[in-house]
Amino acid sequence: MAAGEKGYRAQSTRVKKPVYCYQCVAGPDLLRVEEEDGIAVRVESNYAANGTHPGGGRVCVKAYGLIQKTYNPNRVPQPMKRTNPLKGREHDPGFVPISWDEALDIVASKLRNIREKGLLDESGYPRIAASFGGGGTPTQYMGTFPAFLAALGKVDLGFGAGQGVKCYHSEHLYGEFWHRAFTVSADIPYCNFVISCGNNTEASGGSVGVWREADARVRGLRRIQVEPHMSVTGALSGEWVPIRPKTDAAFLYALIHHILHNRDWSNVCDIPYLKQSTNSPYLVGPNGYFMRDAKSGEPLIWDLADSRAKPFSADIGDAALSGDFVVSGIEQGPDDAVWRHDNVRVTTSFEKLRAHVAKFTPEWAQEQTDIGADKIKAIADEYLAHACIGQTIEIEGQTLPFRPVAVMLGKSVNNGWGGYQTCWARTVLAVLVGALEVPGGVLGTAVKLVRPAKSRVGSVIPGPDGFMQFPFNETTKTGWDPNPHIRNAYKTLVPIAANSPWSPALGPAHLPWLFQKEQPDHWPKATMPDIWFCYRTNPAISSWNAPQVAERVAEFPFTVAFAYTLDETNYMADILLPEATDLESLQLIRIGSTKFLQQFWKHEGWAVRQPVGETRIDCKDMTEIATELAARSGVLREYNQSINRGAAGISLVSNTYNYGLAEDEKHDVNTIWDRVAQAASHETSDGEEIHGIDWFKEKGFMLKPYPQLDWYLYPAIKKQGLRFELPYQERIMRHGAQLGNRLHEAGINWWNRQLEEYEPMPGYLSFPDIWIDHIKEVGQKPEDFPLWALTTRSMQYSWGANVGLPLIREVASNVRGHKGVMVHKDTAKKLGIADGDPIVLRSPTGISRGYAVVRAGMRPDTVVIIGQFDHWITPLAKDFQMPSLNSLTALSLSLTDATGSGSDITRVRLEKDTEPRRARA
C-alpha cells in the first residue's frame, strides 16, 4: 500500500449516505456523503444516478463545500437574543445565548399577539413578512416551514433579496407567457448552433448544464458568445463577440432585420410554422389591435386560397403572411373600447414585424453595439444555415420538426430595461425558423406562474384568440385591485406577474425597500412588518444598493433570522435561530421531469436529504422549528392541515391513499417525512411500492420514467390547435393601456415610464443612456463616471451561503476574477493601476473597494465584479476585501422596468486606492 492512503482505510465505521444538493437553481443533483465514526468526512457524486440524472449523477464544486459548511466554527452555536435595542451596522447587537424554549416562546408570543391584533396593518399589508433567497431553493431546505407560513394566513413574501436584478426577470414573465418558459434553455443535446447574449451557462448552468454543453460541444455544437467580457462560457465558445453593455437588443433586432429584409424571408423562414403556429398571419387594425370578426370576435386571417378574411379558427387554406388587405371587422381596445371598421386596409402581424425592424439595420446596430455590421450579418446567416428548416426528427416514436438553433440570454440582458426587447427578439428569432419548443430549438424548463405547477405540458390550456391561457392580473375597471395586498404590489402594478405562490418574488421586490424611504404619491403608507422572518438570505448583501437595504432592515421592529453564521442581515435581527443545515436535516423533494436551468430528465420522482454525522451545535431541523412554532403560536391544526394538503411537496391524502397526519397532534420530524415518503412512493409507483423514509435514507431516490416528448410544447400546441402568441403582443398592449388608465384614475403618475413598455412590438431605446441619465438624476456629471461596471457569475460561490468557507475560496481563486475587479489592461495602465493594486470604485450612488485583476479579455470601457461580496460582518468573508456591484447600483424607480426588475449595471469611476488597508484574508 502506498503510504498516505493508510490513514483512513482503517476506520471502524464507514457509510455513505445519499442526499441531494439544491443549493442553486440549477439543481437538484445527487451526492453521497461519507460518514466515519459519526463525522461527515467526504462528498462524492452519487454514481447510482449516473444513468438517470441528466448530469450523470454528478455534483458540482459547491456540493463539496458542504462538509466545511457543517463544521464551520463560525456558526451560530445556539439561539441568541439581541440585547442592544439600537440597530445598524455601527451598533453591536449584543447577542446573548438563550434556550430554544425561550427563543421559540418569544417568537410565538409575537405571532399570537399579531393574530389577536389582526393579520393586516393600517395600510392593508400583512403584519408578518418573510424573505427567502436563492430562486426558490430555500424551499428545498426549509422542511415544513411553508406549512407553518400557510397556517399563519397572510404573510408578505414580497421583500426582495435581490430578485429582479439578480434573476432572469423579463424572461421569467414573458418566457412563461409565451411558451411556459420560466427559464429558457436551448435543447442542447440536439442543438447545433447557439447565439448566446451573455448567458453564462458554463458558470450558472449547474452540473447538468456543464455536462450537456460539453457533450454537445464535442458533438459539434457551435456557440457564439456575445458579451462585454469573456466569461467562462465565452472562453468555451467558438467565438466571443465583445458587445457594448446593454445593447443586446440592437444586436438581436439587427439579426431579425437581416433575416426579414436582407435575405429572402420566404425562403429562409419556416413559413408553415409561422402561418400555423404563431400569430404572424393575424391582421392588425388601424389602432394596433387585432382585426376581429365582428360576430365571433376572433382575430382575422387573410386566406390566400379564397382571397378573403376569416376568423382564425375557420378552415384556412393558405394564410397570408404579408400584403395589404381590405377587410371589415372590429378592434377590441382597452377597457371595452371597440372600433368598427368597414373596408379598411390592414396588414398582418408579420408584415408589422417586418416594418417594425426595417430601421434596425446591421449598420445601425454596429453604431449601437460596436459589433461590425458584417459580423452581425454573418451570424444571422449562420443561424439560418443551421436551422434545418423542413427537417424532422423522431422522438419516442413521434415525428417532430428539427430546428437545432437557439438564442440564449444572460442575466442583465434579460432583465431590467431592455429585457422585454431581448426576450421578445430572441423568441421571435426562434419562431421565424420554427425553432420554438421543438427538438434542437428553444425550450422552456418549468412553470411557476401558470398551473398545474408540476406539468409544463399540462399547462397548455386554450385561452383567448387561439393562444394559451395566461393568468394575467386584472387591469379592468372592475378587476384591478387598487389596494396592494403586499408591499411590492405585484398584483396592482405588474399584470404579467400573475398570482401564483411565486408571484410575490416576481413583482418589483425592491419597491418595499425603496418605498420605505421614499413614500410614493397616492399609495398606501409603506409600513414595516411587525415581524420579519429571513431564511437562507442576506438582502443586506444581495440586493441592489445593498448598503441602503441594510439601513432599511435595521429599521424593522422585530426580525427573526434563521442564522448559519452571523451575517449582514441577521446582524440587525432580534432573535437568531440556528437551523440544522444541508447535512443535518431531513427532507424529501421532487426531482426529475424538466427543471431549470438545464435539468431535462427522462425520469421523475423523489430524493432525500438526511442528517450525516452527529450534530455538533445546538441547532434544530426546520421541520421541528416549524412544528414548535405552529404549536406555540396556536396554529398547529392549520399547520398539519397544510401539510396534509401538500405543503411538504405532496398531498398526504388523495382519492387513492391516505397518509394524513392527525391534525391536533405535534408530530416529530421523522414521522412527518415518513408520511411524505409513503405518499411520494405511492404516487411514483401508482401504489405498487410504498416506502417509508428509512427506505429513502438508504436508497437516496426513487424514480419513474418521464417522457422526453414532454420536453417540447409543440406537440401539445398542435394537438390543441393553438398558436404561440408571437410576434405581435396585443394582450400586452391592452393590459398596458388599461393599467395606465387605472393608475391615472388613482392619480398615480410615478409608474408612467414603465407604462411605455407595453408595446405590441417593443421599440428600441438607447438603453445605456438610461443609466447615464440616472447620473444626472442624482445630481452628478456623467463624465465623472466613464466606465461600465457589470457583474458575472461565480459558480463556486453562488447561492450556497458558502462565502465563509475557506475551501471554496481556495479553489475559486484558481478562476480568474476571484481576487478582485476585472479591468482591461489598457484601462488599468492608463489609470496607473497594476494587477493586484488596491482600487476603489465609485458609482453615482455608492462605493466599493477591492483589488485590480488585469485582463485582456474584456472591453476597455467595462469593469467586471464577480459574485456578491463586500461583506462587513460575515466571518471570513469580511476579510476578503472583495468588492460588490451591489454596493454600487442604485435603488431607483427610473431604473425599474415595467416588470419590476432592474439590471446589474452601473456607471463607475475607477481609481487606485491610496487609503491604508488591513491585511487581506
Partner: protein, 542 residues
C-alpha cells in the same frame, strides 16, 4: 520495494483531458481534495485559467494540471531515498515513510506537480472535527502529489473492477468531472476509452520536448467546430506576466540553503581537487595541501549542513543513501563517505597516492553536484546542457581562488601553476557563462529567468575581468594584495552566479503547449460555419 510495483505489468494507466470540455470549474480540484484529504493550499489536481492575446484578439482556456505520471518520470531517478517510485502499471507513486523531504523530486518535475508542506495546517486555523479525523500527519515535511488515486486503482485490481469504467474505483477527479473532460483508463488496452480517444482525435502532451512521455494526453480540437491550431507563442509581455499560469514561477523548494551547498561544496571540492593535484604533481608545496584539506573539508561540511537544514524530515536523513543506482544526491553522499577519510589521510600523511585519491574523490563530489543540479529537469536554468560544465569549472575557479588565499595566508611564494589553473578556469567559466547566456533562449530558459541572468552579467563579467587583471598584476608584481583580491573575486563570482541561478533564476518549466483550440475573439476565433451542420449528429444523443 513495494509489492504493487509488479501488480499490473500489463497496464499503463493514464488520462485523457479534453480541453474543449473542461470549463475550469474546479470540481476535480475539490473532489481530489476530498478524496485525498489534502491540506489547505495543497492541490494535487488543479485547473489553471489561461488568457492570451490582446483585445480583441483574445482567447481563454482551462488546463487540468497535476502529476502527469510520466512514462519517463524525471522525479523518480533523482529521488535519493526511493520514496518516489514508478509502478509497472505506470503510476508514479510515493512512500511518505521513506521520503526525507529534500524537494529534489519537486525541482525535477517539469509540471509543478509536487508540494512540500512543512507543517500541519487547517482551514480555520484550529482543526475542525472532520479535519482532525482525516489529517495525514505522514505527509508533513515530505513530498506529495497526485497518486491517480492509487488506493482506488488497487481496490479495482483487487475487486476485478476497471478504473475509469467503474466510477467508485476511478480517480476522484475523473469520476467527479461534470464535463467528462477527464477520462482515466489503461493506455495498454487498445479498447479502453482513453486509447480510443487518443487514437481517434488529435492530442498533445504538455512540455513534450522534454521527452518525459507524460501519461496525461490532451485533446484540443472538435471536428467541424473548433479546429486545433498551433499554439501562438506568448508575447514578451505575456512571458513576463506574473499571473500567466503557463509561465513557470520561481521554485519554492530549494532556497539559499541549497545555494550554500552548491557554493560551499563547489569551492571546497574545487580547492581540494586543485590543491591535491598540484601538490601531487609537485607544483605546490605539501604544506599547501595539508592546509587545504581541513579548509576544504570544513567548507564542504558547512554546505552539507545547510542542505541538512533544508530537508523536511531530518531524522530520516540517512534514507538519502537508498538510491545509489540512479540518484546523484545519493552518490554525492557516498563520495562524501570516501572523501573525508582521504582528506584526513592527506592531512595526516600526505602521500602522493593519498593526494591523488583525495583529488579524485573531491572532483567526484564536484561532479556529483554538477549532475544533481543538472538532473533537476523542472528548472530550465538548471537542466541547461552547460550547467555541469559551469558547476565543475566554476568549482575549480573558486577552489583555485581559495587556494591562492591559503597560499598567501601561509606566506608561500606565488605558485605559477596555481595561477595558471586559476587563470584558465576563470577564463573558462567566464566563456561558459557567456555561452550559457547566449544559448539560454534556445535551451528554453524563460524570459523571466533570462532577465535575471542578464541583470547580473555586467557585474559578473566585470568582477571576473578585474579579478583576472588583478591575478596577472599580482603575479607579475608579486603583490599579495592583488592576488588576494583576484582570489576573492573568483570565489565571489562563484557565489554570485550560483546564488542567482539557484534562488532567483530558478523559474519552473511552466507549461508549453504545442497546440491549442482555435476559439476566442478576433483573429483567434473559430471560423464561421456558413453551411451549418445539415443533420443531427448523434455522437452523444440525449
Amino acid at each position: 520495494m513495494n509489492i504493487l510495483e509488479s501488480a499490473n505489468p500489463a497496464k499503463r494507466y493514464g488520462m485523457v483531458v479534453d480541453v474543449n470540455r473542461c470549463v475550469g470549474c474546479q470540481t476535480c480540484t475539490i473532489a481530489c481534495k476530498h478524496a485525498n484529504d489534502t491540506m489547505p493550499g495543497v492541490q494535487w489536481r488543479s485547473v489553471i485559467d489561461i488568457e492570451q492575446g490582446s483585445y480583441p484578439d483574445v482567447e481563454r482556456f482551462f488546463l487540468v494540471t497535476g502529476c502527469q505520471h510520466c512514462a519517463e518520470p524525471p522525479c523518480v531517478p533523482v529521488c535519493p531515498s526511493g520514496a518516489t517510485y514508478q509502478r509497472d502499471d505506470g503510476l508514479v507513486a510515493m512512500d511518505y515513510d521513506l521520503c526525507i523531504g529534500c524537494g529534489y523530486c519537486a525541482v525535477a518535475c517539469p509540471y509543478d506537480a509536487r508540494t512540500l508542506a512543512h507543517e500541519m495546517k487547517f482551514y480555520y486555523g484550529e482543526a475542525t472535527v472532520q479535519e482532525r479525523h482525516v489529517a495525514h500527519k505522514e505527509r508533513v515535511g515530505v513530498a506529495q502529489k497526485c497518486t491517480f488515486c492509487i488506493d482506488r486503482v488497487d481496490e479495482a485490481h483487487a475487486r476485478g473492477l476497471t478504473p475509469g469504467v467503474d466510477l467508485d474505483v476511478t480517480p476522484a477527479c475523473a469520476g467527479s468531472c461534470i464535463a467528462q473532460a477527464i477520462k482515466f483508463g489503461d493506455f495498454a488496452d487498445p479498447k479502453s476509452e482513453v486509447s480510443q480517444l487518443v487514437a481517434e482525435r488529435d492530442n498533445f502532451q504538455v512540455n513534450d520536448f522534454l521527452k518525459t512521455d507524460p501519461q496525461i494526453k490532451y485533446l484540443y480540437e472538435v471536428p467541424d467546430s473548433i479546429p486545433g491550431a498551433a499554439a501562438i507563442a506568448p508575447t514578451d509581455d505575456e512571458q513576463r506576466d506574473p499571473n500567466n499560469p503557463l509561465i513557470g514561477k520561481l521554485q519554492p523548494f530549494w532556497d539559499y540553503r541549497a545555494a550554500m551547498n552548491f557554493t560551499m561544496g563547489g569551492t571546497g571540492s574545487g580547492l581540494l581537487t586543485v590543491a591535491a593535484l598540484l601538490a601531487a604533481a609537485g607544483f605546490v608545496p605539501q604544506d599547501m595541501v595539508i592546509a587545504a584539506a581541513p579548509v576544504g573539508g570544513i567548507v564542504i561540511a558547512i554546505g552539507l549542513f545547510f542542505v541538512f537544514l533544508e530537508i523536511g524530515r531530518k531524522l530520516r536523513a540517512l534514507n538519502v543513501m537508498l538510491r545509489p543506482n540512479t540518484s546523484w544526491m545519493t552518490r554525492e553522499v557516498y563520495v562524501v563517505i570516501v572523501l573525508y577519510p582521504l582528506l584526513a589521510l592527506v592531512w595526516w600523511q600526505p602521500s602522493t597516492g593519498a593526494m591523488f585519491a583525495m583529488a579524485i574523490a573531491a572532483a567526484s563530489f564536484l561532479y556529483c553536484q554538477a549532475r544533481i543540479i543538472h538532473a533537476a529537469r523542472g528548472i530550465p536554468a538548471w537542466r541547461a546542457p552547460l550547467i555541469p560544465a559551469l558547476i565543475c569549472v566554476s568549482g575549480l575557479s573558486e577552489g583555485s581562488g581559495l587556494a591562492l588565499l591559503i597560499s598567501g595566508f601561509l606566506g608561500l611564494s606565488i605558485p605559477p601553476a596555481l595561477v595558471a589553473v586559476a587563470a584558465v578556469t576563470s577564463v573558462g567559466i567566464l566563456v561558459l557563462w557567456l555561452l550559457y547566456l547566449a544559448t539560454a533562449q534556445r535551451e528554453r530558459l524563460g524570459l523571466l529567468t533570462r532577465d535575471v541572468l542578464k541583470a547580473i552579467t555586467p557585474v559578473y563579467t566585470g568582477v571576473m575581468l578585474l579579478s583576472l587583471v588583478a591575478l596577472g598584476y599580482g603575479f607579475a608584481t608579486a603583490s599579495a594584495i592583488a592576488m588576494a583580491l583576484a582570489a576573492a573575486g573568483f570565489v565571489a563570482c562563484g557565489v554570485l552566479w550560483k546564488f542567482t541561478v539557484i534562488t532567483r533564476a530558478s523559474h519552473q518549466q511552466g507549461f508549453v503547449l504545442p497546440h491549442m483550440p482555435q476559439r476566442g475573439a478576433g483573429n483567434r476565433a473559430a471560423p464561421h460555419r456558413p453551411q451549418g451542420l445539415p443533420a443531427y449528429r448523434n455522437a452523444n444523443a440525449a
